[in-house]
Subunit: 356 residues, 2 copies
């Protein structure tokens, strides 16, 4: 444990690491618990809605100046301890040529879903560093603007990206995805191999461009049994983490509904494992072991309640974390659109002031 | 453990209980593992689609002759070890006067959702035995037709019914539900109290009418943290189970995404706890303890794969059950619409023939 932390610390020159967020990723002690929120830039903020009134989601993602501006909004208005690049986990679908569109009220639609071995073989080569060059450019701009606040880059995990490609959009049952997995494992493994290479390159490029930490979102992997995760997902997620293993940026591995997958997700990789609210933070951390940091785990829906109720939930999480080095406060999933900005600000303050 | 089984056995005259399904509910040994499927009567069957072409879902539910006919279809064509009454968990919404409709392609819609304390107070009194008398009539007909095959009655658990009432239909995030829970706990507790009384009466009426076992569906409760389950749900589910505790029909307690709720669900009640595929059957059973039976837990999506692949998954579950008394084979959730009938038949045979 000490060795692992030590290795990290050396690679990242932790002697001088001042960021509470980066220190927590490395399980170094902090004077307060760092906090940021998944989807902290988004529709719940008036300043974001003003930009969205003029540009589509994809236009913002593809214009580095706009992506950077939106990324900075919650850093300035909430006082969070990390920025997360404004982007979408589906951006790699654009160079894959599958017809990505965001349809109002329906979310993402992929017009030419991938369902067969032939579909997989027909996928073009993707070079994220250039094909998604606007992401790297946004990272460059942000590093110039953010000062001491660290910037988190991110990508989808291979499973979650595959599920969108195969279903053609969001899904409740993931039947097409699971059918390819079970009925055509050759096509499945070929697809996951392709996606994990692309995502690995994408993550490497983001770190080279200046991302100081990275999060891998396996948002929908909780629809699988542990047996299926192990056979059909783990090797590919591991490949993504191995590609960035020796690069000086901590890695966060996130999913939802993962109470029975946590140990396997840790095997796949990550210095920090994301927990959702379905598992009490102390129980999740105990199951994972002390040699890994944890991030989480407030139910985003609690933020719609009055502040005194929110406080009870926030303090319960901090009490379960027990002040041990290696806890990053976050939600168990993204900020909901109807969340009052004031409530998020209040949470930042509660977390920073807890125990002081 | 022996005492509990003994009490049950006496109450139900188990000396003469011939049904493998009922014996498994009571953790009595069997020569083969009994099997049935949630949503075993439904659109995947041609004979069901023929009836649905002439009648709406609610018309079938409300005409005892049709509900009985549909209930019998899978018993005859699949050879399952139990029948489950054809009905919908939302039927109690009809006497509640909230405007239930099934909209093609969208599922259930409740036109006047319950969002405030005033909405809760305005709910009319419901007398399930008469208001849902057609359900009891279907049970009467079925007991005459089914012979040795036991009939399972069912209802929603209070939480899952409340979630539909509050959201106005199915939901991904359950934000309105959780908001009432956290922001207006008085309205929440009043609603859950009302619903648990109605559901308790409904279940009692079904057992009096002849249901030989009952299943309580808490299908969506897995969206909650264990802490919220304990404070806002458990007491009301318990009330439903307590109402039928001394009636001679085993009780099954079902949910999905419940890996971290299992122990609490057992506390709420049930002779049998349902497991979904997200937890390996042996691990779930170990966590629950041997003093309860388990039901599950094949991923319904696996049934879309070729039969040899299905066999691997079925045998893995049976191996994990290890032939211990008290396992009922089932899916982890309902049969999917695109499931081939042959595949379900094959599963029934695999389960019955396993180990012989």
């Amino acid at each position: 444990m000490t060795t692992a932390t030590g290795a990290h610390a050396t690679a990242m020159g932790s002697g001088t690491v001042g960021s509470a967020f980066l220190r927590a990723c490395m399980r170094l002690p902090n004077e307060f618990t760092p906090v940021w929120f998944m989807r902290q830039a988004g529709r719940y903020m008036p300043e974001y809605r003003r930009i969205r009134a003029q540009y589509t989601l994809l236009e913002i993602c593809r214009r580095p100046d706009l992506a950077a501006a939106v990324t900075l909004q919650p850093v300035r208005s909430l006082g969070v301890d990390a920025a997360i690049l404004f982007a979408d986990i589906l951006l790699p679908v654009i160079p894959l040529g599958l017809g990505l569109e965001f349809v109002r009220g329906e979310g993402p639609v992929i017009h030419r879903p991938v369902r067969t071995k032939q579909d997989v073989q027909a996928l073009p080569a993707v070079h994220p560093e250039t094909d998604l060059g606007y992401v790297m450019e946004a990272i460059h701009i942000l590093r110039g603007e953010l000062g001491q606040v660290p910037l988190i880059g991110f990508c989808s995990a291979p499973f979650t990206l595959a599920s969108y490609l195969i279903e053609g959009g969001p899904s409740r049952e993931f039947t097409h995805t699971k059918t390819m997995m079970h009925a055509d494992p050759e096509a499945w493994h070929m697809l996951m191999d392709r996606l994990s290479n692309i995502l690995a390159d994408y993550l490497v490029a983001q770190i080279h461009a200046g991302a100081q930490a990275v999060q891998v979102f396996d948002s929908w992997v909780g629809c699988l049994s542990p047996q299926d995760y192990q056979a059909f997902v783990l090797p590919y997620s591991r490949k993504v983490f191995q590609a960035v293993e020796n690069l000086p940026a901590p890695k966060i591995h996130f999913g939802t509904n993962t109470a029975t997958l946590l140990e396997l997700m840790k095997q796949a990789g990550g210095d920090v494992i994301g927990l959702d609210w379905r598992i009490p933070l102390d129980e999740g951390w105990r199951r994972l072991g002390e040699d890994v940091a944890v991030q989480g785990n407030l139910d985003p829906a609690v933020l719609l309640a009055p502040i005194p109720v929110i406080r009870l939930h926030v303090e319960d999480i901090l009490r379960r974390a027990g002040g041990r080095p290696g806890h990053i406060f976050n939600l168990g999933h993204g900020v909901l659109q109807t969340t009052p900005v004031d409530h998020l600000k209040a949470v930042v303050d509660m977390v920073h002031e807890y125990g002081s």
